[in-house]
């Protein structure tokens, strides 16, 4: 009896590893293909059968992007917009999350429920009026349009309220007795404690803004203000007809490297931010 059980176990384990490896190849292939294409001389991209890794691999596309296409400015734009909007959102969400978690006030339950209800509104409903609003404010083709309107995130409040409500009230009371102001308590007591939560939420916000395509597309007109996803698409419009695939892939590689590093370093916090809504909600 025993040997058969063991044999079956080895067989089923073998099947599982086989499944996992197939899935992993599927996951890695686009990353690999993107990198390999970005290094190919343009002529080799359209060879049959496809060249897996070119013997003539070079960094020409990256050199062209850096020295002639101002890609560093694009990277800076993307970084600036993503950082500024993340910091602003984290501030608003943690402040309001603190208000909802640690104070009882008339209208608290109703306001919070209403806020959660608005999480189901899809962006497509807000898109037209927000665009008209940006026109009225004169924010089209400025970074304001990309930083300010996103500051109020209902998901962020929800996340922060959950996180802050686990903090012991005595810490705040002790600070009050020591004469701390209410804002001082938020700034010096609450913020240090919720730093891991802020990191988790911040990573989600940062990634979302860094990768966003639709809202920058609506608002940005001058190519020197573009963010990375817009620049990737631009590589197809710059030359009429055929896209410049090696340049496009090089821009894509540049767009994912910072996030890849952040993700590998902060993997745990990252996953925490993603799962918070699903499990507690």
């Amino acid at each position: 009896m025993r040997p058969t059980i063991q044999f079956r176990r080895i067989l089923s384990d073998g099947l599982l590893y086989f499944l996992l490896i197939i899935v992993c190849i599927f996951m890695i292939l686009p990353f690999f293909w993107m990198l390999s294409t970005s290094l190919k001389p343009e002529a080799e991209i359209f060879r049959i059968p496809p060249v897996i890794i070119s013997e003539n691999s070079n960094l020409d596309a990256y050199r062209e992007l850096i020295f002639n296409r101002g890609i560093l400015k694009i990277v800076w734009n993307t970084f600036f917009i993503a950082s500024a909007s993340t910091i602003l959102r984290l501030f608003f969400c943690s402040l309001a999350g603190y208000g909802f978690a640690k104070f009882k006030f008339p209208g608290r339950g109703g306001l919070f429920a209403f806020l959660l209800g608005t999480m189901v509104i899809p962006f497509s409903v807000l898109m037209v009026p927000l665009f008209i609003l940006m026109l009225k404010f004169g924010w089209i083709n400025t970074f304001y349009a990309l930083i300010i309107p996103g500051a109020a995130s209902a998901f962020g409040i929800f996340f922060m309220r959950q996180y802050i409500s686990t903090i012991n009230d005595e810490l705040m009371d002790a600070a009050r007795i020591d004469g701390a102001t209410e804002f001082g308590i938020y700034w010096r007591v609450i913020i240090p404690i919720i730093a891991p939560g802020l990191t988790s939420l911040g990573l989600i916000f940062f990634m979302g803004t860094w990768n966003d395509y639709l809202w920058p597309l609506i608002n940005l007109r001058s190519p020197d203000l573009f963010t990375l996803p817009l620049a990737i698409r631009q590589m197809i419009q710059a030359t009429l007809g055929r896209p410049v695939f090696h340049m496009q892939m090089a821009t894509s590689v540049i767009s994912i490297i910072p996030l890849l590093i952040i993700f590998l370093v902060f993997q745990r916090r990252f996953v925490e931010g993603i799962t918070a809504g699903a499990i507690r909600g």
Binding site: I48, S124, T275
Partner: protein, 318 residues
Amino acid sequence: MSITSEIALPSSKVKGISPNPRRNLWKEFRQSRWAYVFISPFFIFWLVFGLYPFLYSIVLSFTNRGLGPNVEFIGLANYALLFKDKLFWKSMTNGAILFVMYVPAMTFLALVLAVVLNSKRIRGFRIFRTVIFMPFIMNMIAAGFTFQLMFNERYGIVNNFLSVFHIPPIPWLESEWGARVSLCLLVVWAWLGYNMVIMLAGLQTIPAELTEAAMIDGASPAQAFLRITIPLMRPVILFSVVLSTMGSFNLFGELVSLFSTTGGEGPLNSTITPLLAIFNQTFTNSRFGYASSMAYVYFGIVFLLTLFQVRYFGGRVD
């Protein structure tokens, strides 16, 4: 202001019944002024950039607003027009078709992967988890163009790989169903890891003894998975399905990159989604009023669909 009132502030409840309720409410407001100070920055922004656009959109949908200065209320005319708009309904059915094509398969695969990678028996489970989740960080423009390259009918690596097995080249991006299949593959590639991670977190809330006990009682792993894991994971599965439902009507970046030659609409409009249709009406045709009515009808239908899912599949198991 005395120190005692400050200390009582955070969790102060009104004790007893006051003879003058109005004065009492005012006192409550005054006592919790800091709470209002803390939540107000958020709410000011939320009113301007969240609630106001949401309500303004309704008003817009009853007008003929475009880029011009003449704006008139035209009643339900937009909605009447929308009812006969074939492209809009095509975009809605496309969303539904995509949903049927990938959501059940992806959800099931994510759950299976989560269960497999939750058992520490698999060597290198952390590396597998990381690799499967990795696509989630890539922006959809980069991913879409990479897939376009890989699925190219002549030069693409996919068709060249298939030709090894003597499969004739498939026009992935040029035929209706080829386009849908390659789009589904892109979406599954991007979101499988995300759903797996959510399910993994859900699995960690289920005590391992439950399935172990069942297996000792003679249940096979497959039975334990079907009878214990799936019912207990129902809320998490529902969350993942609801998000995927909204997602399949909301594709945009994936489309304009993967099908860049047709502006994202795909061959014979086979991949146009409501979001893309609304975008085109707004920014190509400048019909703001009409686009708003589209957005509202779309929102209403998806909202009802979500409610239906929650109502019929969300019942808690006891």
